[in-house]
């Protein structure tokens, strides 16, 4: 769907254009009609003036030239007359050698007649009776100058109208933008919500938006509660399964190792598998893939504690260095991020000879995590396999190979990327790139 702003803008502009065209066209039509009406009045007066110039002479009526408007004597002046009397036809000198076709009906002629010298003639025919003689007077006037001025007027009006239209369109755009401001504000707040910078949307919104805002807030709360509940349920399930598993494993170790070595191996393998499945399922279900204001990962608070946890868990001299504790809170859920980092570092510590380095950095809209170690690394040919299966490559080092599987599940949930390369420290470099909401 197109933007509401564009749709409003276009439809308002079209309606403005339509109204403008109709009103303009109507005004022009009315103007022209008025013009013709005035011209008709003038022509009627002209006909009367021609009649007035007919004076009785010795042999009936004669045309007294002196009484006529001088324009009728100037050739092709644009003002002409023809008088029909008793089969005689008198014409104004201004007609010169041109012929003026006479309209058939009395009154104003509806059509403009092309006249001499490119003129456009408006004709008027009338009948009089004078001294017992019938006479017909036809006067004509060049309408071209009026037409020209009319055209000029129309052009000027059109120009003015275009300017007004443009101004109105701008005003409209401004109004639309102003009208849509609450929507933009809501959109920004939703982005902040997604980025974990706020816990809920402001209720203080335009009345039309309030139901939407209320609903989004309700959904947000609902989601958080749901997540919380399922995480708790999972934790409980984990606890419920793991303690019996620990009991079984210990029993197995103490009593079966000597008495039934084969059974011991079988049981341990099965227990390992159950444990691995439980852990992976719990890990996958635990991924929140999104942070709220309360659950954001704060590097300054957690990174050192995490590093400390790892130093304690690995009983060997390890130089575990962390870069990036100065980063501001990130829009990644704390539990997810600690799970990612914990598993990656745990792997690195298992394999490292003595050096592990964690680097967190913000690169535009990406959060990059780099974990380096100085262990044996993974040959390039096997890296793809490790990423795909997240499986254990070497069983000599304690661990379950699940770390990477949980990491790839989490990274996938965030739409991020996981790559394995050579580390400058000599071992493996694991690099994560997670997109952060703006």
């Amino acid at each position: 769907m197109r933007s509401i702003g564009a749709r409003l803008g276009i439809s308002l502009f079209v309606s403005l254009l339509l109204a403008g065209v109709l009103v303009g066209q109507g005004a022009l039509w009315w103007l022209e009609r008025e013009q013709r009406r005035i011209s008709a009045g003038q022509l009627r007066d002209e006909a009367a003036s021609v009649l007035a110039a007919m004076v009785p002479g010795p042999d009936g009526l004669v045309l007294e030239q002196e009484m006529l408007d001088p324009a009728y004597r100037r050739p092709l002046s644009g003002r002409y007359f023809v008088v029909l009397i008793d089969g005689q036809r008198w014409r104004s000198r201004s007609l010169w050698d041109a012929r003026l076709p006479l309209p058939e009906n009395p009154g104003m002629d509806t059509e403009l007649l092309p006249g001499p010298d490119g003129q456009s003639l408006l004709r008027y025919r009338t009948r009089f009776r004078r001294d017992g003689q019938d006479l017909t007077v036809v006067v004509a006037q060049d309408y071209a100058p009026q037409q020209a001025s009319f055209r000029d007027t129309r052009t000027a009006a059109l120009l003015a109208w275009v300017v007004v239209l443009a101004a109105l369109a701008l005003v409209q755009q401004w109004l639309i933008r102003r009208g849509l401001k609450p929507l933009n504000a809501a959109r920004r707040q939703i982005e902040q919500l997604r980025g974990g910078q706020r816990a809920e949307l402001d209720q203080d919104m335009a009345r039309e938006l309030r139901p939407l805002v209320t609903e989004i807030n309700r959904l947000q709360r609902h989601m958080e509660q749901q997540l919380d509940r399922s995480r708790h349920a999972l934790g409980d399930l984990g606890h419920a399964l793991k303690t019996p598993l620990a009991v079984l494993r210990n029993r197995c170790d103490t009593e079966l190792r000597q008495r039934a070595p084969e059974l011991h191996v079988l049981l341990l393998a099965q227990l390992d598998q159950i444990e691995a499945n439980v852990r992976r399922a719990l890990g996958r279900a635990r991924v929140a893939a999104g942070a709220t204001a309360a659950t954001r990962f704060e590097p300054g608070q957690d990174l050192e504690a995490l590093a400390d946890t790892l130093r304690r868990a690995h009983r060997k001299p390890l130089n575990l260095v962390v870069h990036g504790t100065g980063l501001p809170p990130l829009a990644v859920e704390r539990g997810d991020m600690l799970e990612l980092l914990g598993n990656l570092l745990d792997n690195a510590c298992k394999w490292a000879a003595g050096e592990v380095r964690l680097t967190l950095a913000r690169d535009g809209g990406l959060l990059t995590v780099t974990v380096d170690d100085d262990g044996p690394g993974i040959p390039p040919s096997r890296r793809e396999q490790v990423l795909q299966r997240g499986r254990r490559l070497d069983e000599r080092v304690a661990g379950d190979g699940l770390g990477l599987a949980i990491v790839s599940d989490t990274v996938a949930a965030y739409g991020g990327q996981l790559t394995l390369t050579d580390s400058p420290l000599g071992g493996l470099r694991v690099r994560l790139a997670l997109p952060l909401p703006d």
């Binding site: 934790g235 984990g238 606890h239 399964l241 793991k242 303690t243 019996p244 598993l245 620990a246 009991v247 079984l248 494993r249 210990n250 029993r251 170790d253 103490t254 227990l271 444990e275 852990r279 719990l282 635990r286 957690d302 504690a305 995490l306 400390d308 946890t309 304690r312 868990a313 009983r315 704390r334 539990g335 600690l338 799970e339 980092l341 914990g342 598993n343």
Partner: protein, 221 residues
């Protein structure tokens, strides 16, 4: 070494108690968080193994309150909550180590040993060394001048406690409190008997007696 195990799963506790006792620890066992909160004040425990999902009061809350009340004994959390966020929270609450279930019994013993040594300021080596004496906790035997000296369980427990507190004056009561759990009968003569036996095996100058005050481990240096 006197340990407190706080674990509500009876089956697991039933396995851990003999395991720990076999390795020379005196262990008291509690299953309820509220009991643990109070009990830690009554006895001077060298280490607490703490489950988190406890009836009565959550283990993490128990730990937080202990630390607020100024109790500083080392605490090892033993729990099924295995997410890294929970581990970080555990250490933040004041735990010294965090072990997740299911676990290998040897792993637990190693962690207990490591936490104990760390809390007494010893480096984490395969053998415990103090004042020219070495102690192999696996084999429960002492080494002097590259010579292995076998010890009985009671002698081993006492020597380990001395070696983790070298140069510190330990009273007879303190010794018996740290070497026997709440159910054992305490007899101050027993302490004296074991000290004499240790002197016979390692040389008389190893443990110094201060009349009326207690004993001092000086080793050979």
């Amino acid at each position: 070494m006197r340990l407190l195990l706080v674990e509500d799963t009876v089956a697991l506790a039933d396995q851990l108690l003999p395991l720990l006792r076999d390795h020379g620890y005196a262990v008291d066992w509690l299953a309820d968080g509220r009991d643990a909160l109070v009990r830690a004040h009554d006895d001077d425990f060298d280490l607490v193994i703490l489950d988190l999902g406890l009836p009565g009061l959550d283990g993490l809350e128990v730990l937080r309150r202990w630390r607020e009340q100024g109790l500083s004994m080392p605490v090892l959390i033993l729990t099924a909550r295995d997410s890294w966020a929970e581990r970080v929270d555990g250490l933040r609450a004041g735990a010294d180590d965090y072990l997740t279930k299911p676990f290998h019994p040897e792993e637990l013993l190693l962690r207990v040993q490591a936490v104990l040594r760390r809390s007494h300021g010893s480096a984490n080596q395969s053998r415990l060394r103090a004042c020219g004496v070495e102690l192999d906790e696996e084999r429960q035997s002492a080494w002097l001048d590259q010579q292995e000296i076998e010890l009985t369980g009671a002698e081993f427990r006492m020597l380990r406690y001395f070696m983790l507190n070298p140069g510190r004056l330990l009273s007879k009561i303190a010794l018996s409190e740290h070497l026997y759990d709440g159910e054992s009968e305490r007899d101050s003569n027993v302490v004296e008997v074991h000290i004499n036996r240790l002197r016979r095996k390692l040389g008389g100058q190893v443990i110094h007696t201060r009349r009326g005050q207690g004993y001092l481990f000086t080793g050979r240096g």
